[in-house]
Chain length 426, copies 2
């Protein structure tokens, strides 16, 4: 367990405690108040875009000096146009229904007690994420709408940007009559601060890590605060014996190449051996045409049409979330081998089947154990926005509490309210 | 982190792996098959009660020799009559609706994709509990009904009893055509086995500790498997200024004395100062009459009628879950002080208010952050059976996944099924 110096622990716990205090005001805030604060936040970000962009420039200069990759620099960069988009996302959150106060279940018991299960905020939501300053705003907005206070730990590479953003958001909260401590950053306390946050059980109600595998595994291992594992997606597409050729090509191409750096992109293609002679070569040609490197099993390599290059797949390829223009490809004897392969290597995010067989589809959808199972469509649809849930905080690949895209509802818990007239137990 | 010798780790992981394998058969088992297995298990327990009681006698002899308290010995003891009760509970679980396969949400998206959120088993449920052999059967039954495999770690004091019970249950599972590995014990591997179970992330989907504070805190601290905190109940009853005298006396007396060793028993009484002169003395007289020791604040002690003894409450009393015939008693200036006190000391289980004031009841029910809030009734109603949820695995005092009594539904997660006709993302 990482050691935390007492000063850092004291400072982070004080922040969590004031977040808990603020969460009490948020829990009973009306939708009108919360939406007004979200609009105020959106307006403040746009109005103070200059201040934020200036802070962001400092982070970028530091990133360039330390040799940050072009991709990471791009994710880090804020411009007026990007701030407009971030502000627009806050306005969208304001337009979503309030997830708090929903009656989930209820009944009158034989002894006359009236039972009501009502959704309530979780309390304090902790987020640990990497250097993407837009996440700071997204997380703050989703937490606020669901009546939660947020304690944020962004990547140190975005520290200046996050500091400026949080300051602007806090001013907006105050202007809207809500406590400024509803959104706080612990970036000033570095990695030790993150560790202190992971141990703030009792003050922080849930911790959501968002980022690469290492970050998520550290949180899972280290955190005594209940955490939600998000985002790792070793997603599969299985092309069944009955798959229509063109549909199979379209779905695999879209699943792999529509956007490669995301968790719902396909990473492995499994093809029924009956289609190794027609569908598989067509898919390989299309993928190579799009610039995808094919990591092929022996069988699969043998299916490659003339002039379509492959590289040999190793055991490691089956377990790899490439997040790049790479795809592992394997020929399977039947659907059972496909299911067994997926069970062995899947991270439980999304698996897709292309098939016309009712029996095969039934078997695939009932035998696998992933957050989303997609029939005859692209893996790229596993997404809160695509599912119509509104904004999402991340995609849960664990089974407790939330599974798949986490929207506002997943940032609530429930309370049982019991109304009686003096009932006692006999 | 507790060290685990490699042999123990290997053995426990092999058990978890075979449980995962068995969970796949359970996940697609029909309700008819699962219910038949539950009935078979109930019949086998009754038929082989002699074998189980004999094993239990060994545990009892060991317990007596080691000076186990009368209360613990009673919890440990199995008789033919108790085995009949345990078997009857299994038959009741068989009669409950199947929580698997329930459609929770669904819609057709603008692009024609059909979205269905369906309940599915969690997979492998780990239970760590103390020396109560009935929990072995309850946990196995609830897990089976909800399509989950169970890996059980009971207290070492009940090791022989649990060994016999698990053997009987496994024979019944096989007779019913289900895998015997659906219910397994790791008692043979002692504390190290429990630690190995806590680290079996990826094989075990949820860990439910059931027992005293130390056990639960160890699991929360040590487990990388997602755990559900259960059972600690520092429950409060607040008697408001408007409380009817007789109702207040009945509710406090029942909340404290109906059964003292349980998590939904009241541990602290808070009384509005306007009622320190009439309701409080009446409650104190009734509680003392029932044999309750009153740990009273200065104000509260001053309210005691002549001849009613109190002992001074210390800071520690407010935070204590006595689980005995003891109650902490305090006079508060108003409902705000009551709410602040509860926020400070509550474990988030159950709080009750006795009041005729609409405003006070609204304030109490919206300001507190506990699994159950009870208006004008006994705290003892926070219970899966009382709530009409059927059997319960425990009472969750955390906010993620399950809150309050955990019934069969809380042993499931969901999968998103997406049905398309070739849709890809633009």
């Amino acid at each position: 367990m990482t050691a935390v110096t007492p000063d850092v622990e004291t400072a982070v716990l004080a922040i969590c405690r004031s977040a808990k205090e603020a969460s009490r005001a948020l829990a009973t805030a009306t939708r009108a108040t919360k939406d007004a604060a979200l609009i105020e936040m959106a307006e403040a970000l746009v109005a103070q875009a200059g201040r934020i962009v200036a802070a962001n420039q400092e982070d970028i200069a530091r990133g360039e000096a330390s040799g940050m990759s072009a991709g990471l620099l791009d994710r880090l960069t804020l411009t007026d146009a990007r701030i407009d988009q971030i502000a627009a996302a806050l306005r969208e959150v304001a337009s979503l229904p309030d997830p708090v106060g929903e009656i989930r279940r209820g009944s009158t018991l034989p002894n006359g007690l009236r039972l009501v299960q009502k959704s309530v905020p979780l309390g304090v939501v902790g987020m640990i994420y990497e250097a993407r300053p837009n996440v700071t705003v997204d997380a703050a907005g989703l937490a606020l709408k669901s009546g939660n206070a947020a304690v944020l730990r962004g990547g140190s590479a975005a520290a200046k940007s996050n500091e400026a953003i949080v300051a602007v958001l806090q001013e907006a909260l105050e202007a809207a009559g809500l406590p400024r401590d509803a959104v706080q950053s612990i970036d000033a306390y570095g990695r030790e601060g993150a560790t202190a946050l992971m141990h703030a059980r009792g003050l922080v109600d849930v911790l959501v890590p968002r980022g690469g595998r290492d970050l998520i595994q550290t949180v899972v291992r280290e955190s005594t605060v209940p955490a939600i594992e998000t985002g790792e997606g070793n997603c599969h597409v299985y092309v069944d014996a009955t798959a229509p050729l063109e549909r199979a090509v379209d779905i695999v191409l879209n699943s792999k190449t529509h956007r490669v750096g995301v968790c719902n992109a396909a990473e492995t293609l499994l093809v029924h051996r009956d289609r190794a002679g027609d569908v598989l070569p067509a898919i390989m040609a299309a993928l190579r045409g799009a610039g995808v490197t094919l990591h092929a099993s022996g069988d699969a390599a043998a299916s490659a049409p003339a002039g379509i290059a492959t590289v040999p797949a190793t055991e490691e390829d089956w377990a790899t979330e490439y997040l790049s223009m790479d795809l592992a490809v394997k020929v399977v004897a039947d659907i059972d081998e496909a299911i067994e392969h997926i069970r062995t290597y899947s991270t439980g995010h999304t698996e897709a089947i292309v098939s016309e067989s009712y029996a095969a589809i039934e078997r695939f959808t009932t035998s696998l154990d992933s957050a989303a199972i997609i029939v005859n469509a692209s893996t790229r649809f596993t997404d809160g926005g695509q599912f119509g849930l509104g904004a999402e905080l991340g995609i849960s690949t664990q089974k407790l509490h939330a599974r798949g895209p986490m929207g506002l509802g997943e940032l609530t818990t429930t309370t049982w309210l019991v109304y009686g007239e003096g009932q006692t137990r006999a």
